[in-house]
Amino acid sequence: MYRYDNYDQTLVDERVTQFRDQMTRYLDGRLGEEEFRPLRLQNGLYIQKYAPMLRIAIPYGMLSSDQLRRLASIARRYDRGYGHFSTRQNLQLNWPAIETVPDILGELAEVQMHAIQTSGNCIRNTTSDQFAGIAADEVEDPRPWCELIRQWSTLHPEFAFLPRKFKIAVTGASSDRAAIQVHDIGLRLWRDDEGEVRVRVLAGGGLGRTPMIGDVVRDDLPWKHLLTYLEACVRVYNQFGRRDNKFKARIKILVKALGIEEFRRRVDAEWEHLKDGPQTLTPAAVEAAKTHFPEPERRPVSDEAIAAYEQQRQEDRALARFVTNNVTDHKVAGYKAVTLSLKRRELAPGDVTSDQMEAVADLAERFSFGEVRVTHEQNLVLSDVPVDQMVALWQALDELGMANPTVGTLNDIICCPGGDFCGLANAVSIPIAQALQERFEDLDFLYDLGPLDLNISGCMNACGHHHVGHIGILGVDKKGEEYYQVSLGGNSTDDASLGKILGPSFYREDVPDVIDKVLKVYVESRHADERFLDTYRRIGIKPFKERVYA
């Protein structure tokens, strides 16, 4: 993974010094609340409902074991001994004291981490495919490109005060696992007939109050122009994005207002001046970025060992369930990627204790070259596990409570922190997730339902991605009371779609029954092996509506 050189290290160290100074000026009154706000946000610090929240950047979801150990010790020392992995592949601490944040950032800098631009109206952490570099369907490893984007966007002098936040996601595989169609800018790396990398650039996707699927601005951008083209896109947004209404300030509103043709025309006009400028990438620059992501030195796994693994899998039903749901094929024979489920009833989705973080760091070193990845579904991944170690890893994960064989099922709920923590939320979300996990815990039932994304957001900011859940649940506030709106048919992958609202919202205690009815309609109506999403697309929302509101 990417390792800092002196320049990177100097920059994050100077950032800590800068923030310490800003914090001092805030605490002694030289810096007002309003003026401090964007400064703290661009260092990840929110002032929340009950306590501050610090969002730590995990660039494109990649962590080393020593970084994870440091996160564990920070959570223990400065917080309450746990952290929350978010849908943007970051880690959030829910209870740090404001005045300790410069010290936390200092500790992060020691392990090449930071909280730069994890919030605020600027370019945020670039997200990507959790199986980058190991997926069998990958045409180009997105990580070096993500790193180039990270550097370009970090402390970009022109784009620190955009109209609103700006999120970029990148995929280099044929199946999109990075939800690029619902980001401000989505990038898909592909190869042309000559084998050269090209970039499809989408703009104007996003969730929140006005969810939209991104439009293609440019289909075949040659790789060397990636950064200048991004700069042109963001510059057009900076100049023309609305600043009079924060709910209409995202780039999606601009793209929609102008139309994609006019938006493209403006971007191209801007790009004319930037193209071939000093940010044009060279083969040497890309090569240098790629050297940070070498293939790990995987020892060969023999055919006999692979056969033995397959044998064990057939003989042990519990192992088979784990492998079917939580293990992903790898481009190298004899290796697998293993998803560690952070969805268990004892803890909120995405929450991990410091002890567990340390245990995962140990497992990463023992089984997967000391690297861990964070997924936007709020799970963790060990990306390079030899199959002859699978049983040992599985048993260790079981002891840790991270072997729930439910990845990709109804139980693998994406969920924001909601009203229990977040100052923006209209309603709680974690208790809804827990009630659903309790109601639908029977594994055979979950497997029978097949792949099912259920996403919960506590407000329309949509951190829980409810619009793109096959089933989405949104907390709404009506005259001070919490209600829940259910939508169906959303999807974040290649054939992305936005969910349609089922009808009037429900009381919190009725949500499990409502979901039960929705599932019954699916089970009764589905064709053999048809996914929930496909049944919904075939029969439409009406039968679901009729059952739920009968």
Binding site: T17, R30, N121, N238, P278, A285
Partner: protein, 172 residues
């Protein structure tokens, strides 16, 4: 700050150093002030640009095309207004004046100009910073030098860090 009386900024940082400001700033969009030299709204300046004691200030929503840039080329200095410190359009305007239209004169930030924006402003081509009245000079000078390294090229450096690394050879 719809102050109708022309004011002389109390603190001006010019290329990082404090300087006594001799230019009055007028926000009156109806008529030119009596004082000279004075920075006046762009629209008024365009009709009076032969007066060498006048310079324009640009609102943050100025559409800066090559036609306007041609007019501005003769301005003795150009100010760009920050109506609120959260309005980031002025950064783009300054970069375009410097990098696209090659403006060599002073580019001055006016309005809601706070200590913690100065580093970004200086990278975008502002060489004169008319701080908001309540801002402290020593904080400002410290903030200007907050970073000794940057990833992107800007008006201050023409080389992206990825190129500089290659030029210098691998180091760690």
């Amino acid at each position: 700050m719809p102050d109708q009386q022309p004011t002389v900024a109390r603190t001006l940082l010019k290329k990082g150093q404090p300087e006594t400001d001799t230019w009055a700033l007028s926000r009156d969009s109806e008529a030119l002030p009596e004082q000279r030299p004075a920075i006046v709204p762009l629209a008024l300046w365009l009709d009076a640009k032969e007066d060498s004691g006048l310079a324009p200030w640009l609102p943050s929503d100025t559409a800066l095309d090559s036609e306007l840039a041609k007019e501005l080329a003769s301005a003795p200095r150009i100010a760009i207004d920050f109506p609120a410190f959260t309005d980031g359009r002025g950064y783009t305007l300054a970069r375009m004046l410097r990098e696209r239209f090659g403006y060599q004169g002073e580019i001055r930030a006016i309005g809601d100009v706070l200590v913690d924006q100065l580093y970004y402003m200086s990278r975008c081509g502002f060489d004169a910073l008319a701080l908001r009245d309540d801002q402290l000079l020593e904080d400002a000078q410290r903030a200007l030098g907050a970073f000794s390294v940057s990833y992107q090229p800007g008006v201050d450096t023409k080389e992206a860090l990825f190129e500089r690394r290659l030029r210098e050879g691998n180091h760690s």
